[in-house]
Symmetry: C2
Subunit: 415 residues, 2 copies
């Protein structure tokens, strides 16, 4: 078992050394070849995916999960399109920044280099396989994928098709590795493969991410959980506050940048809540309110302390009336997950206070939390949203899949 | 026990929220007050340090370690001077970079913010207590220190003196915390205090760092171990190669950026080795050579495979004759610790190849590895040298003790 992992690790590490030196045009051509090959082998991938789906049906997997697992020609074409888009993005590797001449004549600069080998641990959606691998390759990294056991046949098929095309187009053997032994014991050892893997990125639900953080010895970038708040401050344009609250909740409730709690200043709660909550209920949202909310809007359900801390990812919204901005900021500090937080206000001082005092990856004034996303931020792609503070915070694009190396030009300097 | 740690964590987290908003001039004045108070209370600190020294003597601690533990008036003045220097550096917090206007009118920028609460786990040198705390504070962070049990009385005294002056000068209560229960069980729980500590930085020997990496669930910045190489390529100016090799080995053998192995191209080994190795021996260095080295220079001892992988931190140098640059790069990839690596060459292509292909925090052409240092790089201060690839690589100054926060100015945007 250990040998199995070490072998995967060695191949990836060797590939990473070559990949870090590969010119952009070779990487880009390889990515386009991979995209073409995925489309060309769609029937094979769909057949293999069918095996996973059949087994899932046998195991009485819920319908929502079956849909996550499903691949069809259209979805495979979307995967390919995503890869072509990544190929067309600028290559972050090789730029040299902040080069300085030191008093002793040394010329010291930072050059952007790939991270090396990136491990991705994810759950059932097989499109992550293609998407994550393409992002890693574009940034010059080798990747070792460990997807969920439910999608193993799909993942093997996708990786086969990608490797075949990629290696023909000049990617080193070992660029894309797959842990096809999906046992718990193997994943646990995978997270401790420090000699071969530089960074681990978990993608999935809170349980998966917690397990990786607790067990990994490889440096981890924590992604994902978003208990996001929209705070309507008393000076807010209430029509804007309503639009943003509704958008942040219902435009896509299943994603991490969706709002889970509405906070509102007491001074405007009576005017604001009936209007916005009626609208939300008409869109199918269940309201769970604090006692004051229930007084103002009796058709809300009563919220528990759990509600304040929950990322519903669903058509449910917690609502709390607060005294003022300090109360709102304290609530966010206590229950938030440092993802995305928004204030709606027309007061300059309140906007600056909220931006300064709220500790989160993305802090908004008068905009929906739904914008926390690599595409919306202009990165062109995204591998996840970091909710920790090391290395990358917020949406992670290609640049966040690289590190720096100091290069020093001397002419005999000693110390 | 858990309550003890949670109490420390809560205090630090509350302090961090206030510290992140503190103006530079208040932080700077507080640091200067701390420096003054350390000097003013030197007698008390020396007395407490005496207790640690007496116990160390009773326990037959080696002399070199006694010296690390020792504090006297001069050393306390040096600590204070270091803190005043940190106070005078520019504050990294608050700068806003890369602000862009998106097509939908959102203005998105990155503002530099403190990491929050930083945990430092270190060994016997009590000067780290003052130094690390001052760096964390300057960058707007609260700090929880966990020093070695050998230095506990010294550390308690230093933290008392720092807290007293710091809080009088406006630092929030809880800015500097000390884990004064130095039991193994407590440090193990300390490394898992994810709700209160944002980043853990171990400072010390390889054993300490390994233990932190294996046990922590808090994100760790790995520092330190340096198995650094100087590679004399066949086109090298051999006088320069000799100067740099000798400097990299003997100017301060105990530090992580000292060279541990000399690699030399076969084509110049006969000319180069007798000269440089004679010089090194005259400086008290023991030479451990590969078989070819022994043939050329019989007074060398025979190197084992362990020698290639060892950070001696001592007057010992491993020597290996290599075929060419590819052989040298492969050796470094196998045995190096991704810290600092140098090539001595007059050949342009060789210099560029080495810079591109060697994977380390700092890669040098024609200069000593000894320059990998925050002061030498112009950062003005250093909390350690990162040998991992996430967040920071190489010397870490004040900027590396911060993270970013996206701030977004909108006017009602929804998605």
């Amino acid at each position: 078992m250990n040998n199995y992992l070490i072998e995967k690790g060695k191949r990836a590490k060797e590939a990473a050394a070559k990949l870090s030196l590969l010119q952009s045009d070779i990487k880009n051509k390889a990515l386009c070849a991979i995209a073409d090959n995925l489309v060309g082998n769609a029937a094979y991938i769909v057949d293999e995916n069918k095996k996973d789906l059949d087994r899932a049906v046998e195991n009485n997997i819920p319908t929502a999960m079956l849909d996550r697992l499903l691949l069809n020609t259209q979805r495979i074409e979307q995967m390919a399109e995503g890869i072509r888009h990544i190929a067309a993005l600028p290559d972050p590797v090789g730029e040299v920044a902040e080069m300085v001449k030191r008093p002793n004549g040394l010329l010291i600069g930072k050059t952007r280099v790939p991270l090396g080998v990136i491990g991705i641990i994810y759950e059932s959606r097989p499109n992550v396989t293609a998407d994550a691998a393409a992002l890693c390759i574009k940034a010059g990294n080798a990747v070792i994928l460990r997807g969920g056991s439910e999608a193993i046949n799909s993942n093997i098929a996708i990786v086969n098709v990608m490797c075949q095309a990629g290696e023909n187009a000049g990617l080193p053997v070992g660029t894309i590795g797959l842990i096809d032994d999906t046992s718990r014991e193997t994943v646990s050892k995978f997270m401790k493969l420090n000699d071969y893997i530089d960074v681990l990125i978990p993608r999935g639900g809170a349980g998966l991410i917690k397990a990786v953080i607790e067990n990994a010895t490889i440096p981890v970038i924590e992604t994902g959980t978003g208990n996001c708040h929209v705070y309507t401050e008393q000076s807010a344009d209430l029509q804007m506050a309503k639009n943003i609250t509704v958008n942040a909740k219902v435009s896509r409730p299943s994603v991490c940048n969706a709002a889970e709690t509405l906070l509102v200043d007491r001074a405007v709660a009576k005017e604001f809540l009936p209007d916005v909550l009626t609208e939300l209920i008409s869109k199918g949202v269940e309201i769970r309110g604090c006692p004051e909310t229930l007084e103002i809007f009796p058709s809300a359900k009563s919220a528990t302390d759990d509600d304040r801390a929950t990322e519903y990812n669903d058509y449910i919204l917690a609502v709390k009336v607060v005294d003022n901005i300090d109360h709102a900021i304290a609530h966010i500090a206590k229950y938030g997950t440092k993802h995305s937080e928004a204030i709606i206000t027309t007061n300059y001082n309140m906007s600056q206070k909220f931006l300064a005092e709220v500790d989160a990856a993305a802090v908004y004034v008068n905009a929906s939390t739904r914008f926390t996303d690599g595409f919306e931020f202009g990165f062109g792609a995204e591998i996840g949203i970091s909710t920790q503070k090391l290395h990358a915070r917020g949406p992670m694009g290609l640049k966040e899949l690289t590190t720096i190396k100091y290069i020093i030009y001397g002419n005999g300097q000693i110390r």
